[in-house]
Each structure stands twice: as C-alpha cells, then as structure tokens.
Assembly symmetry: C2
Amino acid sequence: MASNPISRLTLQRLPTYLSYLKNLPEGSPPNISAAVIAAGLGLGEVQVRKDLASVSNAGRPKFGYSVLELVKDLEHFLGYGIYHRAVLVGVGNLGLALLSYPGFMDYGLHIVAAFDVNRALIGSTVDQRPILPAEALSGYCRESGIQIGVLTVPAAAAQSCCDALVSGGVRAIWNFAPVHLQVPPGVLVQRENMASSLALLSYHLKTQNGSPEKSD
Amino acid sequence: MASNPISRLTLQRLPTYLSYLKNLPEGSPPNISAAVIAAGLGLGEVQVRKDLASVSNAGRPKFGYSVLELVKDLEHFLGYGIYHRAVLVGVGNLGLALLSYPGFMDYGLHIVAAFDVNRALIGSTVDQRPILPAEALSGYCRESGIQIGVLTVPAAAAQSCCDALVSGGVRAIWNFAPVHLQVPPGVLVQRENMASSLALLSYHLKTQNGSPEKSD
DNA sequence: TAGATTGTTAATCGATTAACAATC
DNA sequence: TAGATTGTTAATCGATTAACAATC
C-alpha cells in the first residue's frame, strides 16, 4: 500500500473494483488474482495491480488477493459507511429520478431534502424528503451541515443555485446542468456530462457506418 | 480544420463548446475569441483553439471565431439533426427518468421504445413510447433498425440484455449498470459511472475535511 | 505596418504499459 | 527450490501546455 497521492483515474476505478468483488458468485475461492479481475473488468493486469496496491496490502505473491481483505480495504478507503448528507436542487424529470433512486445510499449519498422554485411542488415530499423553496437553500445547508449539492436545474439557473450552495457551506457539487460553474478554491464541481457520452456514441456510429476504415 | 483523427477527450468537449455558444446572451458580438470561450468554460486557451481547429475553419487571426460559423461547424461535426433511434432497457427509477427526460432530443437521441420484464409495466406507454416485453428486444431492434441501446437494468441482468441488443444489430450501448460488458469488436459501450463521480466527491470531502494540507 | 489573435510544432505532464525485481 | 504472482522501476503513449510562426 503505497502512500503517494492517488491518481484521479485510479480513484474513479476503485468503486468498480469494489462492486466487482462484492458481486462475485457465491462459492468463489477466497483469493483472486489480478489477471482474473482484469479480465472481468476489461482492464490491464498491471493497471489492476497498481490501482489495488495504492489502497491495499491484500495481495500476496503466488496467492493473489484475499477478496475479503481487499473489499475491506476498498470500503475503508472509499469511506464505506460514511454517509454524506446532500441536497438536490431542481425537481424536474431528472431531479425527481435521482431523488427517487434508491441506489445512491450504496455509495454513501444521503439526499435529505430537495429544492425548487415551483410553488406547486413545494411542501410535498418524495420518500419522506421535503421539497422546499429555493430561497431557503443556503440557510438550510448551513444549518443542517450539508456537504454535497446535487444540481439538476436548467442551465440558466445553475450558477445562482451553485452560489447559494457555496454560501451555505457546501464544498462538493455534483452538476448535471450543461454549464461550467464558477466556484471558489476548495469547492469541487463534478460535472456529469450526458451530452459528452452521447457525442462518443454518435461519433462511433457515424464513423463505423459511413466509413468502414477501422473495424475495432 | 485539421483532418487528423480527433482525440477522445476533444470529442467529449465539443458538445460543451456548442452549448456554450448557443447560449451566449442576446446581442453578443458576432465574433468571439478563444480566450473568452476558455474563460467561460474553465479551459486552457490553447486547448480551445486546438479543439476548435479540429472541426472548424471559423477562426480568423485578429477577429476570433465567427460564432454563427462555429456553431454550424460543430453541429455538422456532431451530426446535429441526425437522430439516432434508440431503445431503453429496464424501466426502473432511473430508466423511467431517462425515458421521460425531454433533453435527449437536443443531442439527437430518440428513444422509440422501452423494454422490461415486469408484466405490470408491459403494454403501457410513456409519452407515447410503448413498454414492451424483454423477450421482444432483439427482434424489435433488428426490425426497427435501432442504433443505440440505453441500459438501465440491474447489474445482474446487464450482460444478457446487452447480448440481446447486440444480436439485434445495435452497435452503440449507453450502459448505466455498474458492470463491465463483454461485446464483440465494432460495438461501443459507453459506461455512465455514477459511483465514480461520487467517489471523487467524497474523496474530496475526506481529504479537505480530515487533513487541511492542500487547499486548492 | 503593427498588433492581435489564430494555428502548429515542440516540450511537458500524467497515465498506462512493459520489463523486471521481490516474495511467498 | 522452482514457479506463480505481486509490486515497482523504466519506457511508452496520449493529452495538455508553452513557445512560436502565420495571418488578417
């Protein structure tokens, strides 16, 4: 377990390893090799070893990794069991979906309230979480010690909502709006860019259909 | 406009440029410089010029880029106006949300049908798109010439649904399930990894909170 | 022409991969 | 001990950035 700063891309792969290991079929052997993990996830073998070495000592030459130990180390590193209280801003189609999605709890995200400008929504609840007026956003975050803001508002509203989150003390923002947000140092914005993904897919179709130059 | 193969990361940034340019305030000047775009999107100035040069000739020394021309070139490159017919597999929380989300049309994604195993859902429609039985997936794709499959099924079902899509002739898959999919050459899988994003956010909070070594 | 701004070539940086050393 | 597999050091690759040339 090296203690150099972990690389961004390694960090992004860690949840994938964890989920892979936790979903190994019943009755799998207690140890697993980097080669098997790599094949299962479509990664390079060396990359797997390097990634895992950055958070764990569970690997032993000749035996591979103890699955149990590796899971424990990954969970520890990723802060498994530590829940981050979050708010969601913008209860439209996407926002409502994320709000209703039970899977985030598995990743430590606990959305405790939602905010919107639509008077028709305000006052109702989604799975016991209240929908509150946007004006209350900043104060609520500060009083409740909210750590993460999930932004699912239209592009035009994103920056001002972001400002409200920041002034409420939030320092990590998950941004689904298709805009770049200006934030002070110390605040991380992670943009989830659906349009980028679709650009890759549609470019693939274009180049594969139109011109059959490359085939893999 | 260089005609080298475009880099993956450049390609992913192109929709961002397009959206930025299209949302410029009314009455903005007809030309814009790389420096302004870079500042607006939080990118490097040289990177912007290089990215744009890969798809457009709209830049002129001393004047910057003609916004109109640049928009046209980006739209052309990204295949604006070309709709890809898609199916969505797995009408759970997330699937239903994506199905209801009107924004994808802007990116050329046209979901024409959804599939699920839940008999209670089959036969109903969402915004005029039918929910059909999973058994019909492969045949439907082939008959309707479906190009893109959106996978929002549980991890355990992902590979078999993927196989059905592939055997139906689909060659681009947008995978929201937290698993690696095995596909034959020529088929592109783009994985949308929510857990990775959350890992970055929560690691940021951990390092910023726990140890105040670095502050930017 | 001079100056601003683009486009490109070369240098740097970060991540992946290859080669190898360590170890059970 | 020999062999399998991990961990690490060095080489490669791809993307970004810096320096500069081109041009309006």
